[in-house]
Homo-oligomer: 415 residues x 2
């Protein structure tokens, strides 16, 4: 990879496309609104961003965002690639963000602007450690050698005491679950203090491991200030826990990088708030671009929503995000993160998920798909595992369900 | 203030309004998509979010965002206030963000959802320090007893070497400037390493202070990883600098809070990336809500754009942001941050700015308004100061310019 940073954008503008692209490149490098005396040809050669590609995608009926500065003439969409010299900023993710996703979202030239993809020089891989555990480490710690980790989320989202959380954990462990996570709303409130929860839950997990040899992976949500996160991580590690969880957008780039440098456990990264960045098709940052930053920093698990989810994201967007997480960043440092499928997942979606993704290196987390199974939690877990077996072996769900009552009940067919 | 957190939202939905509001409250507290056995009446009483207010704002022609799950029936807008028990999360800003600005942006019920305002119990002021310097400390360090600090941004944005930056700083100091900031694109790239820049610039500022008694405040952009920011801060402090700058969205909540706990200098907070959060009128987080978080954390200066700016933000939004920064958060802990006006500011805007805001406790940063003044930098600075004198004394600019050639040239009238 060259020593230039590249970013692809989807833009919408009423200005001539080349002029609009040049404005982006100028504002995000050596230029500003007006010519200034110091921007010499030598300085420009050294530091100006370049428009590497520009593809006209045609006109649109109406501007997507208000505030675009020119209303005469049709608004058009285009795909633009800009490049920057690495020497403008060095391999620093916080400074990268100000460069590729800073002021340009409010430029008057645009009635729409979205960052679609990022390609970064190898210097970033030299500067950032990437996931310490990833797929292989997660499989080792959870004892799940192949297929997805079957997981769930503690619900109610918030409001349980530590003991109530441990009680539900016991039921889930006995039901054969691989992975449990706190809800992102549950961290360290007075109703369910973090330390109490970890102690109560780990006692259950340890007892279950002693009995069965299976140590369930529990992602404790340690989201908080840096010193709190470090202390909470250390408690989980000390008690033999195997995963911590943090909310990416709440913690931010710098906090997550500091947590990663401290951590000795896999980091389960929750993306709540994603809608701010990516819900509008013509504003913000696509998850395909976004996940590059979090993988460089070193998140081991990255939430990607799920097929036929309960939120508003389309399936192709979900699959593009998951595929991105599983695509190597660099040949020598792939920095693969394990995608986490979650939100309205049941025994119905594995075939479509596996067909679209071509991989089962993932965490498959279901709430209702487990606890609402008519035969109970164990049957809920079994039905998900069976649905994945069917998907991976290319057997239709209904056929596979013929001899498997848990799956049959989950997908609502009689044996 | 009660021990509940309150947040106001603007929503747009095709669902019955009360049902949509209840879905928000459920998803962001004890509920989930389906009823779960553990969500008992006792738990709900303890932890459920409540819909405190709901005002129908009428129908809209078309949905603002795609993905709203029901297309039959008209979409309506409404203003909703939700409240949460503080005990769900405790006074933790990262966890607050997951609660008030987490998954709800992707709920299928909504074709638009924006967080408008936040009201937090006093426990947050007990947990977070607020600005260490604010208006009073900034005036003391810069020696500007009244009126705005007249400031500028080093341009070209990026590409100058350390020596070129220092050369321009010399010109600006000799021109009578109060405040200078790095562009947000300039932090610690190999073309202009942070340490070299600070040493070169501080030598100029010190020489000027020795000669004139005026120590110009320079906001060095230290945006980077936490250890880098701490080290850079310490260098600035050691060399007698009086301000550091960081990009809020690049650093994130946890990183900014850790910087604040370390810092012994005012923190100048740049909001590049704001467009992601607030450009769409029906998606994201308004700056009026956003600034509450950054002030609790302890940012001393907060960018608010400017009247008649070069970006796409409307004037009333700019003024609402600035007024919010100047409105006390708590009676005993006002945590006022100094608003920074920037982007296309010249001698033309002070009267409208002062009339709308009613305060000159701000930083007024101009680029072209200073360096492009026909009589040079000193006249550019003088013209801005004179424009503010006129505004604060209620004198029309043209009248005040009659005996002031710098102002006259800036606003293009003959004396």
């Amino acid at each position: 990879m060259s020593e230039r940073i590249e970013a692809d954008y989807l833009i919408e503008t009423a200005y001539p496309l080349a002029e609009a692209a040049a404005a982006m490149a100028g504002e995000q490098s050596s230029g500003t609104f007006v010519p200034v005396p110091g921007e010499t040809p030598e300085l420009k050669a050294r530091s100006a961003a370049q428009v590497v590609a520009l593809e006209d995608l045609g006109p649109v009926d109406a501007p997507s965002l208000p505030g675009g500065g020119r209303s005469d003439g049709p608004h058009r969409r285009a795909r633009v690639t800009l490049s920057w010299p690495l020497a403008n900023l060095g391999p620093s993710l916080p400074n990268l963000l100000a460069t590729v996703a800073g002021n340009l979202f409010e430029l008057k030239q645009f009635s729409g602007l979205k960052l679609l993809a990022l390609r970064l020089p190898h210097a970033f891989a030299d500067a950032y450690p990437g996931p310490a555990f990833g797929i292989e480490g997660t499989r080792r710690l959870s004892g799940v050698a192949q297929g997805p980790l079957i997981g769930t989320i503690i619900k109610p989202s918030v409001g349980f005491t530590a003991e109530e959380t441990a009680d539900l954990t016991r039921t889930l462990c006995e039901g054969g679950i691989d992975f449990i996570k706190d809800d992102e709303l549950q961290s360290d409130g007075p109703t369910c203090p973090f330390d109490e929860r970890v102690r109560a839950v780990m006692a259950v997990i340890d007892r279950h491991a002693d009995k069965t040899g299976k140590k369930v992976m529990y992602a404790f949500n340690l989201t908080g200030e840096l010193d709190e996160m470090r202390r909470r991580h250390d408690l989980v590690a000390e008690l033999g826990g195997t995963c911590v969880m943090a909310s990416l957008h709440s913690v931010g780039l710098v906090g997550m990088a500091a947590l990663r440098r401290h951590a000795a456990l896999p980091i389960h990264a929750h993306r709540n708030g994603w809608g701010i960045y990516d819900r509008h098709p013509m504003l913000g940052v696509s998850y395909v671009a976004w996940q590059v930053l979090w993988r460089l920093i070193g998140c081991d698990h990255l939430h990607v929503n799920g097929i036929a989810n309960k939120f508003c994201e389309a399936d192709d967007s979900v699959i593009a995000s998951a595929r991105a997480c599983l695509t190597p960043l660099y040949a020598d440092k792939p920095y693969i993160a394990m995608p986490v499928f979650s939100s309205g997942q049941t025994a119905a979606q594995p075939p479509a998920t596996y067909a679209a993704l071509g991989s089962a290196d993932l965490i498959y987390a279901a709430g209702g798909g487990i606890v609402a199974h008519p035969h109970g939690v164990a049957a809920g877990v079994a039905s998900l595992r069976e649905a994945w077996e069917a998907a991976m072996s290319g057997t239709p769900l209904e056929e596979y369900a013929r001899t498997r009552p848990a799956l049959a009940a989950a997908i609502g067919v009689s044996r």
